[in-house]
């Protein structure tokens, strides 16, 4: 199968501190990669390097024609910012050259009402703003989604809807999804591959091979009770 992403000996440093070292993996088109690891293990840094926001060592190659939809973990938004959700989505639609209909479609997909998108973004709750960012990422038909803890702050129905959106995107459009999550049940249920960033090394492979008691103990430094069930 054609690879959409190839990472070879990737390293990211901040000054003298190496946050990511010698990371190598490849991802096929349409795969779902879950990135797990302790806080500070470099998950967000990896995503920022993948979208081109951080300089890095090694090789990082996306297939030609890759279009990102990126949802960051959290944003420091000025609560007084007079921008509305529609302002943000319209700007994205304008950059991509798509019509206002796509804005409504994206909002509908994540279950956000027009009235919510008409409010200033600083007045939205954490969960509403997160859904707005997901709608932003879905605009302009991305073929790769990078979601950094996308369900943080979102209520149960919102989480279910988001997981449903991801499922349908994978099924209908063969969208490649890269997901940072601390929820091992979500990871094992959705991911085709797992990248586990440990203190000493990284583990990459199918969930059944990577999410093992031994790996989890090595990565999290403590015993984690979790077992991946075979789905077939």
């Amino acid at each position: 199968m054609e690879n959409i992403l190839e990472v070879d000996h990737l390293g990211v440093r901040f000054g003298d501190t190496a946050v990511l070292r010698d990371l190598t993996f490849a991802l096929a088109k349409g795969a779902t990669l879950a990135v797990i690891g302790q806080n500070g293990s470099g998950k967000t840094v990896l995503f920022r390097a993948l979208i081109g926001a951080l300089p890095h060592d090694g090789v990082l190659r996306w297939a030609p024609g890759t279009r990102f939809g990126y949802v960051p973990q959290k944003l420091d938004i000025d609560r007084d910012l007079p921008l509305t959700g529609f302002d943000l989505l319209s700007a994205r639609a304008g950059i991509a050259g798509v019509g206002a209909k796509q804005v409504s479609t994206a909002l509908g997909r994540v279950g956000l009402e027009g009235a919510v998108a008409s409010r200033p973004i600083g007045a939205l709750s954490g969960g509403q703003f997160q859904l707005l960012l997901v709608a932003f990422a879905l605009l302009a038909d991305p073929n790769v989604l990078l979601l950094d803890e996308p369900t943080a702050g979102i209520d149960e129905p919102g989480q279910d809807r988001l997981h449903e959106v991801l499922r349908s995107l994978r099924a209908e459009r063969d969208t490649t999804v890269l997901l940072i999550s601390h929820e091992l049940s979500v990871v094992s249920g959705q991911a085709t591959h797992v990248l586990c960033l440990g203190r000493k090394r990284a583990y990459f492979g199918p969930p059944q091979e990577v999410i093992t008691p031994k790996t989890l103990e090595e990565v999290y430094g403590t015993h984690v009770r979790f077992h991946v069930h075979d789905h077939d």
Partner: protein
């Protein structure tokens, strides 16, 4: 050859509109202090121009552009907060400028004074103002996404650092356009205060920008009229009118 009195008035109003537009993005990007300080970098440029006997505004524009590129470069390389970098560059520039200009020249550079406008200067300044408006009309979407998140902007193919430099250059041009009338100390105020007022009273980008432009133009027109009636400088009344609108917006905010 010099122009009539209509051209300077027209240029002042167009400059005010550009200031309101640029100011909206300055305020939303939380660059108010940095932008105000950066506008003072024009002073040593005016000093150099007076020493070299060239047009003071050419010197101001050169210094502003140099300061902008310097601040952008240091911020990018050293990853320092823009306030820190601007603070250092501004203090150095103000000290250098004060050494190079003196007496009436210094007061005029700091507070501004409308002088006769040559027709070539009028055309160049008008083109500069039109360029500022055109840049923002073309790039507001990218600027908006970039101010919400530089990373999201990068992920959709916006070269965020380059866009930031272009925006700072546009800001520098706007300041240079108004330095003649409002001076090095007050021009930053015309960029910032109407936009800060608009941020209080408007919801939505279009309304904020419209209110900022309207307030900047109204403050300029009213302030110029007050200056003409009282026979004094025009810069200080323009800024005081803008401040009055800002205070009114605080009242509106407190009671609504």
């Amino acid at each position: 050859m010099s122009t009539t009195t209509i051209e300077p008035a027209l240029l002042l109003l167009v400059t005010s509109a550009a200031a309101g537009l640029v100011g909206s993005f300055i305020v939303m990007r939380r660059m108010v202090l940095a932008a105000d300080a950066l506008s003072h970098v024009a002073l040593p440029g005016i000093g150099f121009a007076l020493l070299l006997k060239i047009h003071p505004l050419a010197g101001a524009l050169f210094a502003l552009l140099l300061g902008t590129v310097l601040i952008w470069g240091i911020e990018r390389r050293a990853r320092l907060p823009v306030e820190t970098v601007v603070g250092v560059v501004f203090s150095g520039a103000l000290a250098l400028g004060s050494l190079m200009t003196s007496g009436d020249e210094l007061i005029q550079a700091l507070l501004g004074k409308p002088t006769q406008l040559g027709s070539a200067e009028f055309v160049i300044a008008l083109a500069g103002a039109a360029g500022v408006v055109a840049f923002l009309a073309l790039r507001w979407r990218e600027l908006l996404v970039s101010l919400v998140s530089r990373d999201i902007a990068t992920s959709i193919g916006i070269r965020a650092w380059s866009l930031e430099l272009q925006f700072m250059i546009v800001f520098a041009i706007t300041v240079a356009l108004g330095v003649r009338y409002l001076g090095v100390l007050l021009m930053g105020s015309l960029v910032i205060i109407p936009a800060a007022t608009a941020k209080h009273v408007a919801v939505g980008l279009r309304r904020m920008v419209a209110v900022a432009v309207l307030l900047a133009v109204t403050s300029t027109a009213l302030g110029t009229w007050i200056g003409a009636v009282t026979g004094g400088e025009t810069g200080p009344p323009i800024v005081l009118v803008a401040v009055a609108f800002f205070l009114l917006s605080l009242c509106k905010r407190a009671f609504v």
